[in-house]
């Protein structure tokens, strides 16, 4: 065997051994006692490193919880169950973790919203529709129905109903906010799961346009705002709920002609949720 190879092997092997030995000694000498509770907390966390808590990952969250920087209920994915586990490990009160879920604030599906005269035949994703022509509906503010939020959801918690609108399944939704980012029209928001009433519209159109464009648009009449004692305010032709002052009992739901403000359980009740279709996002073939 060529002597050069042996020298090369010896050099690299020697260097490797020296550094490995130095690191092994350093590891013993410079060992830092870590709080054993951090590892325990880390074990009960979901471990998906989604970042919904605002920390760099589950381990970082564990470190912060043990140090008392965050409440045990700070993990929105784990919910109350994980909060209780962490509280047991740390021997403190869990605090109540309010479940946060995504809410789709648009009711203008294929049936309610007026269609454009022209047909959209591009890729069936909201982001392209929004960039190219604004999709098939007249409304410039509402849901495009392309299902970008469905695609974005890693927990399989959003599906389109047969009216072409996304519906959130509360039990599966973790409030991570991926759909909020994915929606180019910003109609998805994160809310505590116990909120029942929403203004299901984001349209700032004037009353006439709003009425023409969609059957369930907020036309900006302001009736709900006048009766609500500050619970609802009007912003540029759109009713916006002020959650700290909001009281659903003061809202005259029957006075809202378009039912833009209504109970969540009624908002999408008439429609069935479709199964998630894998192949539906390819552009329809052109017939010449």
């Amino acid at each position: 065997m060529d002597i050069n190879i042996l020298i090369a092997i010896a050099t690299m092997g020697g260097l490797g051994f020296i550094f490995a030995g130095a690191l092994a000694i350093a590891d013993k000498k410079l060992y830092v006692e870590e709080d054993p509770r951090i590892a325990k907390v880390n074990e009960v966390l979901p471990g998906v490193n989604c970042g919904a808590c605002g920390k760099a990952g589950c381990y970082d969250f564990a470190v912060n919880v043990v140090e008392g920087e965050i409440a045990p209920s700070g993990c929105p994915v784990g919910g109350q169950e994980v909060a209780n586990d962490i509280a047991n490990i740390l021997g403190i009160d869990a605090g109540t973790s309010t479940k946060i879920v995504a809410r789709v604030l648009c009711r203008g599906g294929n049936i309610e919203a007026a269609r454009k005269m022209v047909e959209y035949r591009g890729p069936q994703t909201c982001s392209t529709m929004d960039l190219v022509s604004g999709g098939t509906k007249m409304c410039q503010y509402g849901c495009l129905g392309g299902g970008d939020c469905v695609e974005a959801c890693t927990f399989n918690a959003i599906h389109l109903n047969d009216n072409g609108l996304p519906v959130v399944i509360d039990d599966l939704c973790t409030g991570c906010g991926m759909c909020v980012t994915a929606c180019p029209r910003d109609i998805i928001e994160l809310h505590p799961a116990d909120r029942e009433v929403f203004v299901f519209c984001k349209s700032h159109d004037d009353p006439k346009t709003a009425k023409e464009v969609c059957d369930v648009a907020c036309i900006g009449c302001g009736i709900c705002a006048r009766k609500s004692d500050g619970g609802v305010i009007m912003e540029d032709g759109l009713a916006v709920i002020q959650w700290d002052k909001f009281d659903p009992d003061k809202i005259p739901f029957d006075k809202c002609k378009t039912s833009a403000i209504c109970y969540l359980r009624e908002a999408f009740a008439e429609y069935q949720v479709e199964e998630k279709k894998e192949a539906s996002r390819i552009a329809p073939e052109q017939n010449n």
Partner: protein
């Protein structure tokens, strides 16, 4: 004088990030806040100086005498990886606050190509031991300067009315390009 020229050359004229395009990953990834960009720059400088010292010793005391210079790539990678690991342990033991401030950045430096680039350039330019140290300090200062400037600009950009499609990564690339263009103004001033 020669030493100062080497320092200035590495820091400004042949800036590792903006002229050689080395270490782009942390330059783009860790430059969104000044408070994290500065520690990253300092940590990189620190590792660069130590790397310059140790790789010079290994090259001239081991690789050259045994005529195995071709092993420089492999051995330098080994040296850098072990060094960063060691520095991380040391910092953790000595100063917890500093360890937490550096956080993920220290391990990131292991795979930073500007460190390996520094070690290889030093061999290429046949620097002496002292020159090598100055080269390391200069390269580190240049990296810190670049990443700090970038972070400062990006913090201001947060307030600017950037067109929607340019927000985030695209405008960062544009800024990085302009910054590199600005540093091209130094080109050819010093050839060391």
């Amino acid at each position: 004088m020669e030493l100062i020229l080497i320092f200035l050359s590495a820091a400004l004229v042949n800036n590792f990030v903006l002229a050689y395009f080395l270490g782009i990953c942390p330059f783009v990834g860790v430059s969104n806040k000044l408070s994290s960009a500065v520690p990253m720059g300092l940590a990189t400088t620190f590792v660069m100086v130590i790397t310059a010292i140790v790789t010079w010793l290994i090259y001239h005391l081991i690789l050259v005498p045994y005529e195995v210079e071709y092993l420089q790539y492999v051995s330098f990678i080994l040296v850098i990886a072990s060094l960063v690991q060691f520095v991380e342990m040391f910092v953790r033991k000595v100063s917890q606050p500093l360890y937490r401030a550096l956080g993920i950045f220290l391990p990131l430096i292991t795979t930073n190509c500007s460190i390996l680039g520094l070690a290889l350039f030093m061999v290429l330019k046949e620097y002496s031991f002292v020159e090598g140290i100055f080269y390391g300090v200069g390269a580190g200062a240049g990296f810190t300067l670049a990443i700090t400037a970038m972070a400062g600009i990006r913090e201001e950009l947060e307030l600017a009315d950037v067109p929607k499609s340019f927000r985030g990564a695209p405008i960062t690339m544009v800024v990085a390009g302009l910054l590199a263009l600005a540093f091209m103004g130094f080109a050819g001033m010093i050839t060391v």
